[in-house]
């Protein structure tokens, strides 16, 4: 079908445009996904763009063409000074956007369900559970099965779906790793769920995508997707050699507003710490009350 071929061509065209953007640097581009969720998001983004370009490009062309052709100095152009209605044209004028939107609406409905952040990923591997707590202004990643935790560095096994439970111990943030796909809010007293997977080993950039105060710009974090064996080695090291254990006292220290310059890990995470935070048994951070400057809280 020619329409399909056009669509494929356009899709490739936008893909090329996207690629040309990527050539300008290997940043955390959402058009260069490193996992199935990001792939799905990108497909929808590019397909919808391609479909819309099918009417956007002709509309832009017609605007320029009409504006130029019917300029006052062009005496030869058709002149219809009283023409202001055409039932057939009206039908076309309303149908074209309606048809496109019907198509995209279907895409929105299917996409919203298929790519819902709480939707588990199909995989032969068992999910890895990671609990995420947004703090002022750092991220706490708790590995409940491994009993360890990490600040501002997320290490995951490549090729394994990761099931995130996300909350906030302060104001609201958004947990986002652009190359892995969908983001979701981190909210105090609530838990959101997100499944992501890094298809290949690599280092990815993560960040908070919701402004959360003066230390917001420092809420970037590193995501290391490593082979399964390396992941086990990392969790073992963290469990045995971390200087600090994450008990309630250590957690309360984390609530103080601070920026962490260098990631570090905790051993012996107190059981049910995440639930206590999410259920507000451990109260949220106090904001700026305890300190005015932004101290560096990483252990040296």
């Amino acid at each position: 079908m020619p329409a399909e071929r056009t669509r494929a061509l356009l899709s490739r065209g936008t893909g090329l445009f996207a690629a040309s953007i990527l050539l300008c640097g290997n940043g955390p581009s959402v058009l260069d996904p490193a996992g199935p969720v990001g792939q799905g998001d990108r497909t929808i983004l590019l397909d919808a763009t391609a479909v819309m370009l099918l009417i956007v490009v002709p509309t832009l062309a017609a605007t320029v063409l009409f504006a130029w052709h019917y300029r006052a100095s062009n005496e030869k152009a058709l002149h219809l000074p009283r023409w202001s209605y055409s039932g057939r044209l009206e039908l076309v004028v309303w149908s074209i956007p309606a048809l496109v939107i019907t198509f995209l609406g279907g895409m929105a409905w299917i996409g919203s369900h298929a790519l819902d952040p709480a939707q588990p990923l199909s995989s032969k591997q068992k999910d890895l559970d990671v609990d995420v707590v947004a703090l002022d202004w750092k991220w706490l990643f708790i590995y409940p099965a491994q009993g360890i935790a990490s600040i501002n560095r997320l290490v995951v096994p490549a090729g394994t779906p990761v099931h995130f439970h996300i909350t906030s111990a302060t104001v609201f943030n958004s947990f986002f790793i652009p190359r892995l796909g969908s983001q979701i809010y981190a909210m105090n007293g609530m838990v959101t769920q997100l499944y992501l997977e890094a298809a290949h080993p690599g280092t990815y950039h993560g960040l908070s995508a919701q402004f959360s105060g003066d230390g917001f710009a420092d809420m970037g974090f590193e995501v290391d997707a490593v082979p399964a064996a390396a992941f086990r080695r990392w969790t073992d090291t963290a469990a045995h050699t971390s200087a600090l254990s994450l008990d309630e006292k250590a957690y309360r220290a984390l609530l103080v507003q601070s920026v962490v310059a260098k990631p570090y890990t905790y051993r012996d995470v107190a059981p049910h710490l995440f639930e206590a935070v999410a259920m507000q048994r451990l109260p949220p951070g106090n904001g700026p009350k305890t300190t005015t400057a932004i101290p560096d809280y990483s252990p040296h």
């Binding site: 940043g27 998001d41 763009t49």
Partner: protein, 671 residues
């Protein structure tokens, strides 16, 4: 309790040179202007003819002046943001977070509430009663109150520059960040009180204009003959009435949380911060249509006028406008698909959002077919309009992308989103405002704006816009989120530099705009509009001289016929020029200081509440109440202009209108 509440010398940022020096500069300029006005003896004139004026045309002009000044103020914030991000790669830049955070918050607040809103309301004020063929709005004194309450809010926001600080939350104060616990300083209070006060003003405007359009139209001006701009103004003001109380109530809840320890939006004690998202966007999404619909109206007038043709598909345009008006209330959740509401909720709101693209798309095509078969004159307003069509289509497309939940999941809150809403607000509302100002300027002042400088401003704005925001689209796709004071990702840096260059072009454009006004005033004799209809337009406002007399029309026009485009103005002119016109005395509303004094007390109350100076707040409230009572007992609210005076003014207008009529008849002949 302290006499001045929380206000101490520490509120003045002596340690921060940027706000201190810029604040001092602005204060000096203001003092300079006031001294100049007093020394030259303009004060009585200003007081009599402008500050206390309840004439909708004067109020419209004052709204536009306020809007343009605030547009410049917000633009300075933008320059600082873009330059900060251009240099803040692996570096702290020149703006520390606590200052940078205020700047982006102030930028959005100033641009939306005190730049775009006053400009849009100013244009509606000026043009709607003229287009309806009537002498004023329904409640002229209310209108003045609206203006001065808006100005009061603007003053408070700008006062935060030198006294205390502004919100460090973003342009919407999302709790719990905006709760007292997380931001105890006065910034959020400045934000809330400024918007509570100006929000009341906006609501009054909404009531005023809906009443005017529904109840006060000239003879024969049925709904089906109303110019498109009036229809869009009606839709916009209906939205104001429905949406602004939501904003006022929501911010009142934030204030109750902050001042009295309520727990509407707190983390603890059963508060729900996310309910703020729902409420604020229940106002916020209609708000963007409040801003853009009147701009659509301007484009409809401009494209039709300069194509020398009636608007294509008038009825279809009306339906599209009213459809947008209603659907815009059903889409707010698309601002937070990422809250995790699930596939059903996200799907429904995604589809609802996209549906708005249908009437909007129909509008674009209708403007396109208005140009078809025309004789297009590329004046400055027309250039803005064509550029709008090209720009807005792209902005609409990225908007639909953001309405697709899975796509939104990766670009939500990113610079892609920032680029999108600038694409539609600048490309829609701001281009529309510039088109409208250039279009109606000769009607307001009796001379046109200089075309050369206008075109220079246009081309630099068009180029500068894309140079600034195309890189932001790209940076957003590269995973860059908004509001970053600094960053370490190399791939983002080049785009921030390109964007900063775009801002340089926009600075040139702003310079051209200012210079355009200066040149036009200087050379006003060359640019004089003698006929009252410099563009060969066809709505009623062009059937009265420029500037119109205070009562707009010596005799109210009578509209009839199926073809209001070619007939409306011509017939109004013929009636005005008929041999045996009988002039009746005209009642015009009497000037009133009510608005200005209300604004003064509102500012006092706002400032006192922000700094918790309770006695001053009580005094302000008492003053405002006294003004209300005084106004309620006002006995003479109108003055009568004698029959002879009306006849004399009408007589003096005759030659101009005669010339205009001949031109209209000639144009009709060739059509």
């Amino acid at each position: 309790m302290r006499f001045l509440g929380r206000l101490t010398w520490q509120a003045i940022p002596f340690d921060q040179p940027i706000p201190l020096l810029s604040g001092a500069f602005v204060v000096l300029v203001l003092i300079g202007i006031v001294v100049w006005v007093i020394v030259r003896g303009y004060l009585p004139y200003l007081w009599r003819e402008w500050i206390t004026s309840v004439d909708h045309k004067r109020i419209g002009v004052m709204y536009c002046v306020l809007g343009l000044v605030m547009l410049l103020r917000g633009f300075i914030d933008a320059i600082m943001m873009r330059s900060q991000q251009a240099i803040a790669y692996h570096a702290p830049g020149y703006l520390p977070p606590e200052h940078y955070d205020q700047i982006f918050s102030a930028h959005g607040t100033v641009m939306i509430f005190f730049g775009a809103m006053p400009l849009i309301i100013g244009l509606m004020n000026f043009a709607v009663p003229l287009q309806l063929g009537v002498r004023d709005v329904a409640f002229p004194t209310f209108n003045s109150v609206s203006l001065w309450l808006t100005a009061s809010g603007a003053l408070l926001v700008n006062a935060s520059l030198v006294i205390g600080e502004f919100a460090r939350t973003g342009w919407l104060p999302f709790p719990p960040l905006s709760e007292f616990k997380y931001l105890p300083s006065v910034g959020v209070d400045y934000y809330c009180w400024a918007l509570e006060i100006s929000g009341v003003g906006t609501l009054l405007t909404g009531i005023n204009f809906v009443t005017t359009i529904l109840k006060i139209r000239t003879y024969g001006m049925s709904y089906g003959r109303m110019p498109m701009f009036c229809w869009t103004a009606l839709a916009s003001n209906l939205l104001i009435i429905a949406a602004f109380p939501v904003l006022t109530a929501t911010l009142a809840m934030v204030l109750l949380d902050r001042y009295l320890g309520f727990h509407f939006f707190s983390n603890d004690a059963g508060g729900n911060p996310m309910m703020f998202n729902n409420l604020i966007w229940a106002w916020g999404h209609p708000e963007v249509y409040i801003l853009v619909l009147p701009a659509f109206g301007v484009f409809s007038e401009v494209v039709s006028t300069f194509s020398g043709k009636p608007l294509f598909g008038y009825r279809s345009m009306v339906i599209a406008t009213m459809a947008i008006c209603i659907i815009s209330f059903t889409v707010w959740l698309h601002h937070f698909f990422t809250m995790g509401a699930g596939g059903d909720v996200n799907g429904v709101f995604g589809i609802a959002t996209m549906i708005i693209a249908v009437p909007t798309g129909a509008k674009i095509f209708n403007w396109l077919f208005t140009m078809y078969g025309g004789r297009i004159r590329f004046t400055t307003p027309m250039l803005w309009s064509v550029a709008f069509m090209l720009t807005f289509v792209i902005g609409g497309m990225t908007g639909v992308l953001l309405a697709l939940p899975p796509a939104d999941f990766v670009v939500h809150n990113s610079l892609f989103l920032v680029a999108h809403f600038h694409n539609v607000i600048v490309g829609g509302t701001i281009f529309g405002v510039f088109a409208g100002i250039t279009y109606w300027f000769p009607k307001a002042f009796g001379f046109r704006l200089d075309e050369n400088w206008g075109k220079a401003a246009f081309w630099t704005a068009f180029l500068g816009f894309w140079l600034t925001f195309l890189p932001l689209y790209i940076a957003g796709l590269l995973g860059m989120t908004r509001r970053l004071q600094h960053y370490d990702v190399a791939a983002w840096h080049p785009w921030m530099i390109v964007s900063a260059f775009g801002v340089v072009v926009l600075i040139i454009s702003a310079g051209c705009q200012v210079w355009q006004i200066v040149v036009s005033i200087r050379e006003r004799d060359r640019l004089r509009d003698r006929t009252g209809d410099p563009w060969g337009a066809h709505t009623l406002e062009w059937a009265t001289p420029s500037p119109p007399p205070s009562f707009n029309y010596p005799i109210l026009p009578d509209v009839e016929g199926e073809d209001p485009y070619w007939g409306m103005k011509r017939k109004a002119l013929q009636e005005a020029l008929a041999e045996n016109v009988h002039y009746a005395p005209v009642e015009v509303p009497r000037n009133s200081p009510t608005g200005f004094v209300t604004g003064f007390f509102a500012t006092t109350i706002g400032f006192a509440m922000i700094w918790q100076i309770w006695w001053l707040a009580a005094l302000g409230l008492l003053g405002a109440y006294a003004v209300f009572v005084r106004f309620a007992w006002w006995e003479i609210s109108e003055v009568e202009i004698e029959e002879d005076e009306v006849a004399r003014i009408a007589q003096s207008e005759r030659p101009a209108l005669e010339e205009s009529l001949q031109a209209a008849l000639a144009a009709e002949q060739t059509a």
